[in-house]
C-alpha cells in the first residue's frame, strides 16, 4: 500500500493540495486533509469550487460531506459512499475514493485543452475523437435496424456497419443535351429515352452520374484500332463473297444471249427494212442539225461585225478631237522662244519636286524611327506591367495564405506550449514506470510463491487420494479373502465381523478427520473476519458519532434560545 499512497500523495500535491512534507501515507491523514484532498480533486474534475476545510458547525459539515459524496457517486463511483465515508473515514475507503478520483483527473484536464484545434490533421483527430466517444457511449443496436448501417446523432453520424456499401460501378447513361442540332436524336430523346433514374439500378446511379468510367474520350485511340480491324475483316469477307457472285452473273448473261439469238432469226427480215428507213431518217436529221448550226454561226458573225463598226466610229470621233488639240499646240510651239521657256519651267519644277521630296524624307525618317521606338517601348512596358501585376497578385495571395498560416501556427504553438507546461508539471513518468516495474517484480515473486503453494496442495491432495484408494482396495481385498474363508471357518467368520466393525470405525475416524479440517478452515475464516471488523474501529467511530450528535443538539438548542 506504500506505493499507492506515495502516488496518491504525489498527485494531490500536483493539484496544489495542502499536504505537509512529513506525511508519507494515508494513515497520517486527518479529517480536514481528507476533505481538502477530495474537494481539490472534485474541483479539478467538475470546475466548481468546494471548501477546502470542514466548517466548524456540525450540520454544515454534514451537508458538505453529503454533497461531496453525492458528487463522487455521480462521477460513477460504484461502491458504498455517503457522508460517513468522509466524516468518519477509514483508511481503506479513503484510499479507494482517492484512487478513483485521481484516475478521473488527467482526462478532464486534457479535455479542456484539446477543445480548440487548428489545422487539417488536428481537426481530423478531433472529429475522430468525438466520433469514437459518441460511438462508445451509445448503446449497441443490431445493424438490421439501421438504414445503410449508419446512425445519425446530434453531432453528425456514426457508422455502425459498412456491410451495405456496394463497390463503385458505373454504367453509361443516356442524358439529353439541348445543345445538339441532330433532329432524329432529339426525337428519340423526347419520346423514347427514359429518365436517368430508370436507366440503371439505384445503387449504380450516383456513381454513374458522377464518374464516366465506362466511357472513352472522343479521341481515344482504342476506338480507331477497333474500327480499323473491323474494316479489314469486312473487306476480306466481301472479297470472299465477290468470287461466286461474278461467276453467277456470267451464267445469267449467257442465258440472255441465247434467247436473243432466237428472236433475231425471226425478225431479221422486217428489221432490215425498218433499219434502212430509220437510217435515212437519221441522215436527214443530222443534215438539218448541221444547217441550223451554220445559221447560228452566221448570226453571231453579224453581231460581231456590227459591234466592231460601232467601236471604229467612236475611235474616229476621239482622234478627230485630238487632232484639233494638236494643231492648236503646233501653232504655239512653232516659236523657238516659247519652247525654251517651257522646257526651263518644266526642269525647274522637276528640281523643286525632287528637293521637296528629299526634305520630306529627311524630316520623316527620324520621326518614324522615333515613333517606332516609342511604340516598341510601350508594348514592352505594357507587358512588363502586366507581369508585375500578376506577380503582385500572386504575392498578395501568398501573403494572405501566409498570414493565415502564421495565425494557425501561432495558435497551435500557444496551445502546445500550454500543453507542454501542463505535461511538465506532472512529469513524474519515470517515477511511475520505476514503481510499476517494482510492483511487477513483486507480483512475479508472489506469483511464484502461490504456484509453489498450489503445487504443494496438489501433491497433498494426490497423496490423500492415493491413500484413500489404497485403503479402499486393501479393504476390498481383505474382504474378499476372508469372506471366501468365512463359509467354512468359524474364526474366519468372526474375524470377518471384526473386519466389518473395523471398517466402520475407520470410516468414522476418516470422517471426523475431514470434519476437523473443515472446522479448522472455518475458524481461520472467522478469525480473518474478526480482524477486518477490528480494523474498522467501530467503537471509536461510534463514540465520535455520539459526540457529534451531542454537538448538533447543542447547536440546535443554541439556535432555539435566541428564537424563543
Amino acid at each position: 500500500m506504500e506505493e499507492v499512497d506515495k502516488i496518491i500523495i504525489e498527485s494531490l500535491r500536483n493539484l496544489e493540495c495542502d499536504i505537509g512534507v512529513k506525511i508519507k501515507n494515508l494513515k497520517q491523514f486527518d479529517a480536514d486533509m481528507v476533505t481538502g484532498a477530495v474537494s481539490s480533486c472534485l474541483e479539478a474534475i467538475l470546475h466548481s469550487s468546494f471548501p477546502k476545510k470542514l466548517p466548524p458547525s456540525m450540520s454544515a459539515r454534514l451537508k458538505l460531506a453529503s454533497n461531496m459524496a453525492e458528487q463522487i457517486k455521480d462521477l460513477g463511483f460504484r461502491e458504498d459512499m455517503g457522508y460517513q465515508s468522509i466524516l468518519y473515514y477509514n483508511e481503506e475507503e479513503v484510499r479507494r475514493v482517492l484512487i478513483f478520483l485521481i484516475e478521473r483527473l488527467p482526462r478532464e484536464t486534457i479535455k479542456t485543452v484539446s477543445v480548440e484545434q487548428i489545422g487539417y490533421v488536428s481537426r481530423i483527430v478531433k472529429t475522430l475523437e468525438d466520433n469514437i466517444k459518441e460511438s462508445l457511449s451509445k448503446t449497441w443496436v443490431p445493424s438490421c435496424f439501421l438504414r445503410q448501417g449508419v446512425r445519425e446523432t446530434s453531432q453528425g453520424y456514426i457508422v455502425n456497419s459498412l456491410g451495405d456499401s456496394c463497390s463503385l460501378r458505373t454504367e453509361k447513361l443516356d442524358i439529353p443535351d439541348s445543345r445538339t442540332q441532330n433532329e432524329e436524336l432529339k426525337y428519340y430523346w423526347i419520346h423514347n429515352v427514359p429518365d436517368v433514374t430508370k436507366q440503371c439500378s439505384h445503387r449504380k446511379l450516383i456513381p454513374s452520374l458522377l464518374y464516366k468510367d465506362s466511357e472513352f474520350p472522343e479521341d481515344f485511340d482504342l476506338k480507331n484500332v477497333i474500327r480499323k480491324s473491323e474494316i479489314v475483316s469486312l473487306n476480306t469477307i466481301e472479297t470472299d463473297l465477290n468470287i461466286p457472285i461474278s461467276s453467277s452473273e456470267k451464267i445469267e448473261k449467257t442465258s440472255v444471249d441465247i434467247i436473243n439469238i432466237d428472236k433475231d432469226i425471226e425478225t431479221r427480215a422486217e428489221q432490215s427494212k425498218i433499219d434502212k428507213l430509220s437510217e435515212e431518217l437519221e441522215n436527214k436529221k443530222s443534215q438539218y442539225i448541221l444547217l441550223q448550226d451554220k445559221v447560228k454561226t452566221k448570226e453571231a458573225l453579224l453581231k460581231e461585225l456590227i459591234r466592231t463598226k460601232n467601236e471604229e466610229q467612236n475611235y474616229l470621233i476621239e482622234t478627230l478631237a485630238k487632232v484639233k488639240l494638236k494643231t492648236k499646240t503646233q501653232t504655239v510651239l512653232s516659236k523657238e522662244e516659247n519652247l525654251a521657256k517651257l522646257n526651263n519651267m518644266i526642269e525647274k519644277a522637276n528640281d523643286r519636286l525632287a528637293e521637296l521630296a528629299k526634305q520630306w524624307h529627311e524630316i520623316q525618317t527620324p520621326l518614324l524611327e522615333e515613333y517606332k521606338c516609342l511604340k516598341d517601348s510601350l508594348t514592352s512596358e505594357e507587358s512588363k506591367y502586366q507581369e508585375q501585376k500578376e506577380k503582385l497578385e500572386n504575392f498578395k495571395e501568398t501573403e494572405i495564405k501566409l498570414n493565415e498560416n502564421i495565425k494557425e501556427k501561432k495558435d497551435l504553438s500557444q496551445n502546445l506550449t500550454q500543453q507542454y507546461k501542463q505535461i511538465n508539471r506532472k512529469n513524474n513518468r519515470a517515477m511511475y514506470t520505476r514503481r510499476i516495474l517494482e510492483i511487477i517484480s513483486n507480483i512475479r515473486k508472489q506469483n511464484n510463491d502461490i504456484q509453489k503453494v498450489l503445487k504443494d496442495t496438489r501433491e497433498i491432495q494426490k497423496e490423500i487420494k492415493n491413500l484413500t484408494g489404497q485403503v479402499d482396495r486393501s479393504f476390498t481385498l481383505a474382504d474378499e479373502l476372508i469372506f471366501y474363508d468365512a463359509k467354512n471357518d468359524e474364526t474366519a467368520r468372526r474375524s470377518y465381523k471384526l473386519l466389518a466393525a473395523l471398517r466402520d470405525e475407520f470410516n468414522i475416524i476418516l470422517k471426523t478427520l475431514e470434519d476437523l479440517g473443515v472446522v479448522e478452515r472455518e475458524c481461520r475464516n472467522l478469525e480473518e473476519q474478526i480482524e477486518i471488523e477490528k480494523s474498522k474501529e467501530v467503537s471509536v467511530k461510534l463514540e465520535r458519532v455520539i459526540s457529534d450528535l451531542r454537538q448538533i443538539q447543542k447547536e440546535t438548542d443554541m439556535m432555539k434560545k435566541p428564537s424563543s
Binding site: 469514437i132 453520424y157 456496394c166
Partner: protein
C-alpha cells in the same frame, strides 16, 4: 468550382420560367432529394414534362449529378447559392429553395455516398454458447467448457445487390477465449485512449 462547369448549361435550363414553372421546379427538387436519400421518387415524372420532355430530362439528370457532387465535395450553402445564381443564372428564390432543401438532406446524401465503395466484411454481431463434452467415441473423460463462437459479418453482395450476412464459426477453450478477449480489449483500450489522448 471547375468540375461544375459541365452542368452549367443544363442547369441554366431552369431559367426558363414558362417551361419549368415554380411548381414543377419544386417537384423536381423534391424528387431529386428523395431519390438520393429515400430511394424513391415522390412525384410521377411524366407529369412534370410540358412541351419539351428532353430538356426537362436533361435538367433532372444534371440536378441529380450536381447534388451528389455538392455533397461529395462538401460545398457550403453560400457557395451553392453563389454558383446557382451567378454561374447558372438561376433566380435567387429558386437557388435559395434548392439550398435550403439541400442543407436539410445533406447528412443523408453523405450517408448514401458513404455507402459507395468496397470494404471488408464488417463484424456487427456475435453469438456464443457454452458446451461441455461429456463423452466421446474415443475418450471417457469430460472436457469443457468449450465456447462455440459465431461472428456475424456483413458484406454487400454485388451479384444479388443486397446486404449479405456471413457467419464465421470457431471454437475456443477457456485459455483461447481469454486470449481473444484480451486482444479485443486491447483494441478497445486503444480506442478509449484516443478519446482522451495526451498530446
Amino acid at each position: 468550382m471547375k468540375i461544375f462547369e459541365n452542368y452549367k448549361s443544363s442547369l441554366s435550363i431552369s431559367r426558363n420560367i414558362t417551361l419549368i414553372t415554380d411548381d414543377i421546379f419544386k417537384k423536381i427538387i423534391e424528387n431529386c432529394f428523395s431519390f438520393l436519400t429515400e430511394k424513391k421518387e415522390i412525384h410521377s415524372t411524366s407529369n412534370l414534362y410540358k412541351s419539351k420532355p428532353d430538356v426537362t430530362k436533361e435538367f433532372y439528370a444534371a440536378l441529380l449529378a450536381v447534388t451528389a457532387e455538392f455533397a461529395r465535395k462538401n460545398v457550403s450553402k453560400e457557395e451553392i447559392i453563389k454558383y446557382l445564381t451567378s454561374n447558372c443564372g438561376l433566380p435567387s428564390d429558386r437557388a435559395d429553395l434548392y439550398a435550403q432543401n439541400f442543407e436539410k438532406e445533406r447528412t443523408k446524401i453523405e450517408i448514401s455516398l458513404l455507402n459507395i465503395g468496397s470494404s471488408l466484411p464488417h463484424v456487427s454481431d456475435i453469438k456464443w454458447k457454452i458446451d461441455h463434452i461429456v463423452k466421446s467415441s474415443e475418450m471417457d473423460s469430460s472436457e469443457g467448457p468449450l465456447f462455440r463462437i459465431c461472428l456475424i459479418a456483413e458484406q454487400y453482395d454485388n451479384e444479388n445487390e443486397n446486404k449479405a450476412l456471413k457467419n464465421i464459426h470457431f471454437t475456443c477453450n477457456s485459455v483461447e477465449l481469454l486470449d481473444l478477449i484480451y486482444k479485443l480489449k486491447d483494441a478497445l483500450r486503444h480506442c478509449n485512449n484516443l478519446t482522451h489522448r495526451v498530446f
